[in-house]
């Protein structure tokens, strides 16, 4: 079997370009926007309605309210970053590292805050006494839209705190 070099290059380019193009096209139907809380609010919500969204932020301390409603564990909390806040609702278990001030990514979609006010009321009414601090919760207190999350991811427990470098400061005495 002998192929000209030009034919090989042409075939390779066709496969790469064709495959790559098909890959990009097929990715559109699975795309999920990924935004930090502050950037999401700065951009506005109009561009993200009816779209799958991942919102990345830090859990505001004291904002977590949990209750068991109809045999399901429901939670609401506030995600914040750089002073910008958005409320999140989620049903089901949460990661082990989920707690006040933890770094969290909530996957779901934006919903009008008013639609989930009944859920907030249910959570507050069913919560344990120590979890009622901060109740009643106003769903639209932070933004007109809230995140109805299907999945929560919390920060991996790693010691790789890469933000600050260690300068050599050893005393050589």
């Amino acid at each position: 079997m002998k192929n000209g070099t030009l034919a090989k290059v042409g075939l390779t380019a066709a496969v790469v370009i064709g495959g790559g193009g098909f890959l990009i096209l097929s990715s559109k139907s699975h795309a999920q926007h990924y935004e930090m809380v502050d950037k999401l609010i700065a951009k506005g919500f109009d561009g993200f309605k009816e779209k799958q969204l991942k919102v990345h932020g830090f859990v505001e301390a004291g904002s977590i309210h949990t209750a068991t409603v109809n045999q399901e564990t429901r939670r609401t909390f506030v995600l914040q970053m750089n002073g910008k806040k958005i409320r999140v609702y989620v049903t089901g278990p949460v990661p082990d590292t989920f707690k006040d001030a933890s770094e969290v990514v909530a996957s779901g979609r934006l919903v009008d805050a008013g639609k989930l006010q009944p859920v907030a009321d249910q959570i507050c009414s069913n919560a344990k006494p120590e979890d009622k601090v901060g109740c009643p919760v106003r769903s639209d207190a932070e933004q007109g839209q809230v995140v109805e999350a299907t999945e929560l991811m919390a920060k991996c427990p790693s010691k790789y705190e890469g933000a600050t470098s260690n300068k050599v400061d050893t005393n050589f005495k």
């Binding site: 079997m1 002998k2 495959g19 098909f22 890959l23 097929s26 990715s27 139907s29 699975h30 795309a31 999920q32 926007h33 990924y34 935004e35 561009g47 991942k54 990345h56 068991t68 045999q71 399901e72 564990t73 089901g92 278990p93 990661p95 082990d96 590292t97 707690k99 770094e103 969290v104 990514v105 344990k128 991811m153 919390a154 920060k155 991996c156 427990p157 790693s158 010691k159 790789y160 705190e161 890469g162 933000a163 470098s165 260690n166 300068k167 050599v168 400061d169 050893t170 005393n171 050589f172 005495k173």
Partner: protein, 906 residues
């Protein structure tokens, strides 16, 4: 502290100096290596080689110092304070070496120093004219990592003010044996990719582009492949056992960072064969070693620089990102530049002769593996690419990954079975029929049986795009059968040929075959392992999960029915009346599961509060297991909770129980239950893959060792006597290790078996806890006489242990504590109970002797038995073949001869 009140650590001083010295030495090695080979100056080359060895010693010293700092709690060193604390066990203190960014970079440098020392020591005489370039390449990498360490991430950096009294310690989620060995496995895999890259650059720089360099690097790429596989599977196992989300792989950027070089390393292992057999794909192989090394650096950059947003990324550091970007640019420019420069020497001598050939199958395999690597890279970097293009950050999820990786994976699975059946150069029609008949029939039969007995496997799933749907499970199982058939046929035919040649029994022939042709048959075992793993992957499509809240624990009937039991009724399709979903019915086992919530237990100890639920697991009304899912709340980790899942492992599926929440006042508990079909086979498949890799790595000298030598009758008698002595030693060794289990005292209170909460038994467990480190040390040294699994009295939670802990505290009170008090405690207990009460015998000899006897005896038995087997499998020497037998035979010529003889015989 020094006179100015600044923390002073001699360890930090010596450690930093050793890093600086290593840095300077590495720079010298780069210069000397390049100049030595360029000018053909043997002295300079030797200088660079010995400099590499000296570098290894300095890095070894620095590593030993940081470990010493951990073990001796030198919290004046920031890295030690960040990743360790006094209450951690010694094991976790040592492994905290690679627990943080700074230490992991030093660990990378250490492993590379060890590997490069071995690689250079073995190869420097064989490759005199390029070894200088090889050393220089390795040292450039070391200079890079040392630059990061010295100027940015010094693990020996100390506090300028008062250091903390205790360290921060390690998150409890990371205090898990899988998580301890997962990072070094991955690092070892990453680092091993540097050696082939260095030899490739050496070959390009020197112009020595024959196959010699390939033979030197193949084993390193195999090590890279093996350790990357191990690291990836350990990470998956940790996620499965520890995180409680029921899965083991989520296509997260951190996972993908380790997966990408695995693809290209696998591609190289296959394409290297083509270069050896046919002299083709030289440029391709050089590109592959470059890409593999590049991807190891890129993966590290991705996860530590913040280039990819993920909660599982290890941090964000723009300075570090810039360093990595510059280094990656240098790698690409130098490697591509050299390949282009030497392109005229890299032209191949032969062409592909047929599409139906082993060469073409390997090429296709390479293309798909490369496509996998670049797809994963593209999809992982999708958010960064989209943000660069239009300012919005867009990611793709696991569903997108699976849509593309599933068809790629199935194609690779087919090739794993088909390629060994094809001939080099060209496969005739007769050979096609002869080779493919059995595996194809097995595949067809499997498909038919599945359609009859497991019709759910014909459900359609989409691949590439929503519109393209295929019965993926059916294809998967069919291809697995094809691969099994292909490999079994290869083993059978090889074994029969060798049996005819040597006249020995089949088992001896098989073992001899695998030892002689370990690359080939080790590779077949790896393919078999991959097929078994695909069997496990197939179960993912059938997993089931529910969340359930049960108000109160309670008593149930013998078949698991009651107010506290939970399951789901079958759902029927309202239109057809057929069962719509098989809830909690094992899809391949047909087991029907129900669960009973029986009690909620709250315990606490010095470290944590534990809430544990007791769950009865029933299959078809018969109780098959009791499991204890739990939630632990650590006191010292600011409310860190861990999920302790409970898994009932079965061949057809795992029953996976998670306690997601509980109310101690009302006894209400929330559960999440998974049925994970076939997941056990993922882990078993990996074990087969690891076995195959180890077979490939068996060095020639081991094969030579087990080769037979002429023996006299006296020698044969000596063999028999030695074998008897070894057998007696084994029996004695194991017998002396055994301890008769004493009956448990009637009044003892023990935590029920399987609760896995350590000493958190409540009641007696909480009595007489140690109040000082000396007391804790003494209690850990004394075995509880109640006979419960040889636990020490610190951990045992029975009444006897509580009473004895009180005795320890009383003795320490009287003797004043410290070393004298410790000695007094030990002497008192030895006087009462004998030396058997000690966890560590005073004299190591009686403790070690049985162990040594057992280990040495087992090794010698394998050696002598192996020699006996191989001897039986070797043809008796005749005058005709004695001369030929005296010639050493290389594997590749043996393989080639076999294939050509097979063609002639058809």
């Amino acid at each position: 502290m020094n006179d100015q009140g600044v923390p002073f650590s001699p360890i930090a001083v010596v450690g930093t100096v050793s890093l600086l010295a290593a840095y300077a030495l590495a720079a010298w090695c780069v210069a000397a290596g390049i100049a030595g080979n360029a000018r053909k100056n043997r002295r300079l080359v030797s200088s660079s080689v010995y400099g590499l060895y000296g570098f290894g010693a300095l890095i070894g010293l620095a590593s030993a110092l940081i470990i010493y700092a951990f073990v001796t709690h030198d919290f004046s060193i920031k890295y030690v304070a960040m990743t360790s604390k006094t209450s951690m066990s010694t094991w976790y203190k040592v492994t905290a070496f690679w627990g943080g960014l700074d230490g992991s970079l030093l660990f990378w440098s250490l492993v590379l120093a060890i590997f490069s020392t071995i690689a250079i020591a073995v190869n420097h005489r064989r490759h005199r004219d390029m070894i200088g370039f090889v050393v220089a390449t390795i040292m450039v990498v070391q200079v890079f990592f040392l630059s990061l360490l010295i100027f940015n991430k010094n693990p020996f950096a100390t506090y300028l003010t008062m250091p903390p009294a205790d360290g921060r310690g390690l998150n409890p989620l990371l205090q898990n044996y899988w998580m301890v060995i997962h990072p070094p496995s991955l690092y070892t895999g990453f680092v091993a990719a540097t050696i082939p890259f260095a030899f490739g650059i050496g070959a390009l720089a020197s112009g020595r582009l024959d196959d010699m360099w390939l033979g030197s690097v193949r084993v390193w790429m195999l090590i890279c492949f093996g350790f990357l596989s191990l690291g990836l599977i350990l990470g998956g196992r940790w996620a499965y056992e520890e995180l409680g989300w029921g899965g083991y792989w989520a296509w997260d950027p951190v996972e993908n960072a380790g997966f990408m070089p695995w693809f290209t390393a696998t591609a190289f292992l296959h394409s290297a064969l083509i270069q050896e057999q046919r002299g083709m794909m030289k440029t391709w192989n050089l590109c592959l070693v470059t890409i593999t090394f590049f991807l190891t650096i890129f993966g590290t950059f991705m996860t530590r620089s913040g280039a990819v947003q993920s909660v599982h990324a290890f941090g964000e550091d723009n300075e570090l990102a810039l360093d990595f970007i510059v280094f990656m640019a240098v790698i690409l420019v130098v490697a591509i530049g050299l390949i282009v420069y030497r392109s005229n020497k890299l032209s191949k001598k032969t062409e592909f002769e047929s599409f139906i050939s082993r060469e073409f199958a390997f090429l296709l395999n390479n293309w798909i593996l490369l496509a996998c690597a670049f797809f994963v890279l593209f999809a992982t970097m999708f958010p960064t690419i989209s943000e660069a293009l239009d300012g919005s950050r867009v990611s793709v999820g696991p569903e997108f990954f699976n849509k593309w990786m599933t068809p790629f994976g199935l194609t690779l699975l087919f090739l794993a079975g088909a390629a060994p059946l094809l001939a080099w150069r060209k496969t005739t029609v007769e050979r096609l029929w002869n080779q493919f008949a059995f595996p194809t029939c097995l595949m067809a039969g499997t498909v038919v049986l599945l359609l009859i007995f497991f019709p759910q496997t014909k459900e359609l799933s989409s691949i590439f795009a929503e519109q393209v749907e295929l019965p993926i499970s059916l294809i998967n199982f069919g291809l697995i059968a094809f691969v099994f058939g292909s490999i079994a046929q290869e083993f059978w035919r090889g074994m029969m040929v060798r049996t005819r040649q040597t006249g020995s029994d089949p088992i001896t022939s098989l073992l001899g075959l695998m030892l002689i042709k370990r690359r080939k048959y080790g590779g077949y075992l790896v393919h078999l392992g991959v097929a078994i793993m695909f069997f496990g992957f197939a179960g993912k499509a059938y997993d089931q999960m529910i969340d359930r809240t049960v108000d109160k624990p309670g008593i149930v009937t013998a078949d698991g029915k009651g107010a506290s039991s939970f399951s789901l009724p079958f759902e029927k399709d309202p239109d057809t009346g057929k069962i719509k979903t098989h809830n909690f019915v094992g899809p391949f086992s047909k087991s029907t599961y129900t669960f009973t919530y029986e009690r909620l237990i709250h315990t606490s100890d010095d470290h944590k509060d534990a809430i544990t639920a007791q769950i009865g697991v029933y299959d078809g009304g018969e109780r098959i297991a009791t499991r204890y899912p739990a939630r632990w709340d650590y006191h010292s980790e600011e409310g860190q909770q861990t999920t302790e899942v409970a898994i009932r492992v079965r061949v057809a599926e795992d029953v996976y129980l998670v306690l997601t929440g509980a109310n101690l006042d009302t006894q209400q508990a929330n559960f999440r239950v998974f049925i994970n079909p076939l997941i056990l086979w993922v882990w078993l498949g990996f074990l087969m893959l690891a076995l195959g890799t180890l077979v490939c790595l068996i060095p020639q000298f081991v094969v030579d060792l087990v080769s037979p030598r002429p023996r006299t009758p006296l020698g044969r008698a000596a063999d028999v006597v030695v074998t008897i002595l070894i057998a007696c030693g084994l029996v004695f060794g194991f017998a002396s290790q055994a301890h008769a289990a004493a009956p448990k005292p009637a009044t003892g209170e023990h935590v029920p078996e399987g609760m896995g909460m350590g000493n958190a038994g409540g009641g007696y467990a909480a009595q007489n806890r140690p109040t000082t480190p000396v007391a804790e040390k003494a209690m850990k040294e004394l075995i509880c006489p109640c006979g419960c699994a040889r636990q020490d009295i610190f951990h045992c939670d029975c009444e006897s242990a509580a009473r004895l802990r009180g005795k320890v505290l009383a003795i320490l009170d009287q003797s004043g504590g410290g070393d004298e008090g410790y000695k007094a405690v030990i002497d008192a207990f030895v006087a009462d109970y004998g030396e058997k009460v000690l966890a560590t015998p005073k004299s190591s000899f009686p403790w070690l002797l049985p162990t040594f006897a057992a280990v040495i005896g087992l090794g010698a038995l394998v050696f002598f038995a192996g020699r006996h087997w191989v001897k039986r499998g070797v043809a008796k020497p005749t005058p005709e073949n004695a001369a030929a037998a005296a010639q050493p035979v290389e594997d590749r010529y043996v393989d080639k001869l076999d294939d050509e003889l097979a063609d002639i015989n058809e």
